[in-house]
Amino acid sequence: METTAYTPADYKSDQPVRWCPGCGDHAILNSLHKAMATLGVPPHLTAVISGIGCSSRLPYYMNAYGFHTIHGRAAAIATGFKVANPEMTVWQISGDGDGLAIGGNHFIHAVRRNIDINMLLLNNKIYGLTKGQYSPTSDRGFVSKSSPYGTVEDPFIPAELVFGARGNFFARSIDVELQITQEALLAAARHHGASVVEILQNCVIYNNGIHNRITDREYRPDRTIHLVHGEKMVFGKNRDKGLVQDGFLLKAVEIGKDGYTMDDVLVHDAHTPTNFLHQQLAMMDGTDLPLAIGVIRDVDSLTYNDEVERQVADVRAAKGFDSLRDMIMAGETWEVK
């Protein structure tokens, strides 16, 4: 780790943390404090903007310029903030309901626009704050207070929305994977442009264990794969499994079996502009293929806020005015003496 002048404590506010004991959000908050300290952007140049939901309480626990706004609108508010004040590092916090239901439109447009903000999606597949309704990431058939007979609709896969919106950064982590979460958050902050980090979060009260199929300690090594740029795609308790190309698709194999060797295992390239493989990796769901965690896609491209600054500078260099009056006087006028 790099050394900086800041410690995680420098980013903690004095407000008491109000999440339920055991809620996954605690771990995510800790990872964020640590990632910020590593990143080393001073608190007064850091903004944390959220919508509404349990997860959206997060800004109150940050020593930064924090704004807990209204349901679904965090991405739009963060966009205006960043355009207005591009010197600030902006973190936007949303739950799965906040970011993908009521705020779905702002979410995809922020990604498409490639505004340079770090968008954290705390996905507990439920509406926590309103006490347990299904969300746009709940699986088909999910039983909740608002779907007593099971839902009859398919969920969003957040990554797929990001790719649909032509996103250039997508990472995924799990609340309890502190290291990987920090790694993803740091990469997101360093990425130039909109970076989406989906963090699977456990809601102990209304959706306890919803990610267990994947996150349970017993299965996690076999049902997840930690992707690292430039490294082989290997996984498994004994790190004896790998991902190989199978036609246009991916296949999980046991290294040393069926003729597969380490040489067949793919090397992760998060920086390649074509997103075909990134999409396949992001869509793996822990059933036949392991769920990908870590930084899946991280590709530089033009950001909205930089382009606004560039355009202002270009226009002003070409025909800028010093004042409103100068601008008006350069137009159609007449004088009355």
């Binding site: 903004a47 807990h68 706004t69 966009t79 205006g80 903030f81 600030m88 409103l324 601008m327």
Partner: protein, 618 residues
Amino acid sequence: MLEETSVKTLDKVVIRFSGDSGDGMQLVGNIFTNVSAGLGNEVSTFPDYPAEIRAPQGSLGGVSGFQVSVGTGVHTPGDKCDVLVAMNPAALKQNVKHVKPGGVIVVDIDSFKEADLKKALFTTDNPFAELGINAQVLEVPVTSITKAALADSGLDNKSIIKCRNFFALGLVCWLFDRPLESVVHFLSKKFAKKPAILDANTKVLNAGFNYGHNIHASVSTYRVETKEARPGVYTDINGNTATAWGLIMASEKSGRPLFLGSYPITPATDILHELAKRKDLGVKAVQMEDEIAGVCSAIGASFAGDLAVTSTSGPGLALKSEGIGLAVIAELPLVIIDVQRGGPSTGLPTKTEQTDLMQALYGRNGESPVAVVAPASPTDCFTMAFEASRIAIEHMTPVILLTDAFIGNGSSAWRIPDADEYPEIKPPYVPADKLAEGAWRPYDRNADNLVRYWAIPGTEGGMHRLGGLEKDYATGAISTDPVNHERMVHTRREKIARIANDIPALEVLYDCGDADTLLLGWGGTYGHLRTAAQELNDAGHKVAFTHFRYINPLPANTGEVLSKYKKVVVAELNTGMFADYLQSRFPEVKIERVNKIQGQPFLVEEVVSAVTKIMEDK
């Protein structure tokens, strides 16, 4: 050249150009306005757009109009016109009701063929008789003369036909004694990159002028009075542009960069267009994905330290209401512009109304008072956009600026102000010593006006958290304490009420001490109401007049002014929203109402007769 025709000298005249939406009537109307303003006339315009962008050619739904009044004492584009230009039968049919008895109607008789008449749903072959026209009709073969004038131009037929509007303009210039040089000056700028078109239009313009001259048209021509205007440099400006420029002035005067978050909607879009161009002054105008994102991006920009604005019309204001509530509780400066149009729902999107008043005042959940101001005229949009920004920043509050389609699209000559004619705007920054001591809390307030201080992100030591949850009066931390909530509600309300100490008093016109009726209005109806008051007084009725530009809070002397009159007549383009608002505040005042909800501005004569009737009713 005028000696052979009868010349009327008038203090003001009204001309209405009308044709198919593709006929270029708005363009020639604008040029005529600019030329007249350049001659020292006061001008006031009313572009009347068709609701459909591309209605079938020649149909009644596709008629586009542009009315302008020029002269002295011009406060409105005029009730009815002295001269109507109608390029086709549909334009004639739609606009004949706007012509004064004995006025002049110029028609392009070439486009009055059987097929044209059919498209405009005439049932006989004599449209003039069918409409019972009581005016001098000048039947001019505009199309054929235009074609003849451009026979050698090398232009194709379609391009030639497109020049017809300049024939009409040339003829109108002859009628009103406008020199063609200044028209040509405008043309050469507009068509600088298209010399062939410039040449053709100039030719046709002259042909129109000469036509009037040569046929010794036996119609009246007009000489329009000019007034000694205040010396200075002038430009022609419409309300939407004036609004955009007022915001820029406020940005210069406050030192806060200007941010606009917006989503296109008629009739407000031109504000977005203008500010998008103003990157040359460093303005950042962002077209967001919807109105909610428009207001939210502005709230983000405000939190970040900008003079943040969102522009829209009624339906968009409805979408923004939750966001405005956030800015109320976070006590962030925010300017929300509503260029009102006919509602409800999509309603009459290109037409004017004052029907968003209640929405602006009350259209949010919870106790969420905001300041509301409303410009009186196209040029006043500049001043009131500046005022909205000043109040927003100095009082840390959302401010709704209620303009309307009539003043937003209408234009007037405007003297370009010097920067020192407008006051400095002083953002209530957190005092540096408080920051240094770490003694500042986000809801610490100025004891006089109850305004909280603004810590601009990026300021060392200024870190704080805002949010939509109720906050503790003292610490600024989340609080659900019942008594604290009530205190915060009252504090936010009182903060808005105290803005009354920081706005001008209400002024009364035409009161020589013996009027017992007061006519009043608010916002964009000023020109019509003031002219009506003038005419009432000229006719011997003693009517005082006042007009509200500050709606919430009301000017501090409002109660005192209203209490002086036996009858207070509130005229507005809705069913009586401002009247209800005043009545709720001043229950003892006897309020009479004059209302119109037709998507059209008042006519002066309507107001005069309504007020006369009210005065007669004892």
